[in-house]
Amino acid sequence: MREPALQDPHPWTPPELHRIDRLVLEAAALEAAHRDSFLARQAASEKRLVEEVQRRLTAAQNLPENFLASPASLFIGDLTLEGAPGESLPFNNPPDLNFPGSSGEARYALKERLGSGGMASVYRAFDRQLDRHVALKLFRAGDASIPIRLLTEARAQARIRHDHVLEIYETGSFQGRPFITMRLVVGATLAEKATELSLEQKIRLLEQTARGLHAAHRQGLLHRDVKPSNILVETSPEGDLKAWVSDFGIATELQGARAASDLFGTPHYMAPERFAATPTTLDRRSDVFSFGVTLYQLLSGRLPFAGEDLVEIRRNLLHSPSPSLENTAPPIPADLRAIVLKCLAKNPQERYPTARAVALDLQRFLDGEIVEAHTASLAYRLTRFAQRHRSAVAVAGTLAVLLVLALMVAAGLGLRAVQAQAREEQRRAQAEELIRFMVLDLRQRLEPLGRLEVLDAVGQKALDYFAAVPEERLTETELGRRSTALYQIGEVYLQQGSLAKAVPPLLESLELSQRLADRAPHQTDRLFGLGQSHFWVGFAHWEAGNGSAARPHFEAYLDLSRRLVDAEPGNNGFLLELAYAESNLAALLERAGEIQAARRRYANVLGIMADLVTREPTNSEWKFELAAAHNSLGEALRALGELEAATQHFRQELGLRQELASLDPAHRPWEDFLGTSHQHLGTLLLYRGRWEEAREHLSAGFEIFTRLTAEDPTNAIWQYKEVWSRLRLGELLWAQEERDDALALWQLAADLTAPWVNQQPPQEGWQRTSGVVALHLSQGEEDPSPGLVKAIGKLRAHIRVFPDDRRARTWLGTALLRLAEETNPPELNEALLILESLAENSSDFHHLAPWARALLRAHRLERARPVLERLWAVGYRDRELEALSQEKGLPVPLSEQ
């Protein structure tokens, strides 16, 4: 083969280039006439450099007048104008690029062609200057966009220094054709090599590839064309194999990569989101998908998403499930299949978040460890299974689900533990990881389905596992982990409502962490662990409705949190714990009726959260908590009859919620809380007679919740909030004499409530709500009595299950009172009894108003007078009660509006 004479345009070292650049800049600042003398003054040793400077200055003499003359900002404006832009388009008609090199001799000698692609051919070449062989990629001429892409490619790849990313040496041009030189790899591409590799070799090479990709991602670069032919496999003289990621030919900086408009890549390997109609920002998970296709192909010998043409490939990528890898010969281990499937998830969120995570799992597989993808994909499939067969699962499915889970646990905790006995610590760490995953991740998936009971078996297995490890062989760190695992398991039982089961692991966790903390009382992580355990034990009691048993634990938790903050005042995490601890105790006090004490604690919480938000103004989680603190304090103030102060806090809460929701309009929980906030404020305004404002907020809440439930009808919490938004908005309309509309809202609320009422175990909120709905609806009946009887029945049944529910008792008292107003019977006495017990020592208008009404009905006018005066004084407004009061000659509120 004849060696083409390649001219080398810039044989400069980086310092030389820097010097040239500086000289060009300095010389060019001078009038043309003065440049020569300036250059002549430079040192003789820089002669070669000065020649290059001269060359560049000469080339620039032909600089078009309008080169960079019109601002780039106008090019956008030009779109609305007619006419062509200026001629300053260096890339449109590239000048002849073949200029003579300074050294005279061509630097590179081209040898044989190693391969060729659409845009370029790769040759082996000899670099005479550095006396080494390189790979030289020579681009085809004529594509106006090559230079810029060349720049991008080379810059991109040259920035990454990694064992498994192919090194870029230099760029240049030959006869108008740009080229890049890079490390010459002796070997073949993975595509060519695949058939001769063992399974282990393939996995090792791909693990290296994933690490190389991760290095690129960390530099902000996507590869965007991951496939076997872009992975080079080098064989060392010893026969070791090494993978090199090459050809970042279409690598684009992560920022600004747009899917729909930038379809490069080889279609078979492209992530589905790159075909999406709406432009989504691509991220590293698109490369993870392509990597998954590569992995799939290497393992099975075929493409997962094949197709005759782009249309078919696209359809398969977007819509066909990942084909099974289960019946291949030789068989592919289940863990490996799980890794492939996790890479190939259609939804980027379900893939590995980073290439490094894939590499880690591949490494774990090679070491015979537990593979994260396995548990995750099983959980995912379980969830999908449960979603598809909701009713079936409820009966027969439980068994199957439990079996699968038992298998998973057995695989995760049993078999692998045997394999990895030599690495016990690692095994334990992974066991804990697995448990954490089950407790947190799996729970999140199963919770919306109401399928928490499937976690039961998992928890039991995990406890068995810990029980089987002799305690004397555990280090203190491991004891700490065990304590954590125990309270997490307890937490699952709590979520399932099985209190009895939750308490033993929680107490064991508490005992363990107490022991650990006693051994090192000044170690903050021990105190922290102990605090968590106290909290969970307290929480278990709290959930059981046993406030007095919960109290010492909540107090201990608070005390420990204070000690943590004292130990490390700058630790925001501890400060947050303190806020939680104050808040928990406040909630407990509030439930016990000690509202004043609760209010002080809530004020503490507010102070801490405000402090934290000042420390980190951009932390939206803390803003969220700050909003919650305003809400709690507002509720306490409302109950104390300080309605104006309560309104102020609700307003501040709403402001924060609006801010959060606007930060991320797609984040549903924030929208949910925004709706709730509107709801709270609107309800309070409703009872203060501020109709217009109340209507505005109640409508906003109603609008948000109807939208959310339309989006996801399975979300019980949104359904519940929608029902209440209907109830409250209806109350407003009723008070405004828009009775038909109010009744329509209530009727729909009843329809929405019906399916949730008979759930087992009974849900506190829904039971009470169904009674309240019946009570509201009775108002529209000619004879309200049957409706009221129904409401009373429901509320009584509810109170039998939840005797501490003061709100339910308030509603029951109200319902009895209404019935008494209709029929004048013994119900009035019972209503008086219930309402008096609630109103005693209470400043909450929810208690005082029905009590006043009952007193008026019972003609106990002198008893009613102070209650009414109290209500009017705090700003409570209720048209029916005002009318009744006036009828009896008792005071009415001063009209302030």
Binding site: R22, F75, R258
Partner: protein
Amino acid sequence: MTGTPPEHTRELTQLLRAWRGGSQEAEAELWPILYRELKGLARAVLRGRRHSAGPQTTTLVHEACLRLMGSEVDWNDRRHFFAVAARAMRFVLVDEARHRLAQKRGAEQGAGELAEEVIDPATLRSPEVLAVHQALDRLGEINPRHVKMVELRYFAGLSLEETADVLEVSRPTVVRDWRAARVWLHGQLQPTAPL
């Protein structure tokens, strides 16, 4: 929940002064405000919904200044505004250029010969914008003042006088530096320019 315009302006003015005083936080806060405003304006122009807030508005940066700072803005604050906005404008334009090139390539991929039709003037200029953007990083290693100047002149579209004003140098200095930067960039923008 937005503040009244004077408050907004006052806040911006304070940020600009803090930035001038060397506050990193101020720059971090200023940047998104200016970037979003400029991006929004650019998008509006692209959609043909361009409304000039004043009679003599010439560029998006001027427009943004008028909208955010009002017409009574102190000349010192205005200079600071331009200094920060020029960088933001650079990124707005680079973004837009990338987007356009991507669209063009996408179209080429989809339907070979149709490619001609989608090439509009802005698309033609996109490689230039990107190349200048990339070359500036390198220029910054030699003389950051030149970078600022190219940002002000080329990306923000300020006049020689305004540029001199913002950089606090004389007009002849700007003329000289601008000439040097153009020559230097010309050397860089040749397709085979060293990287």
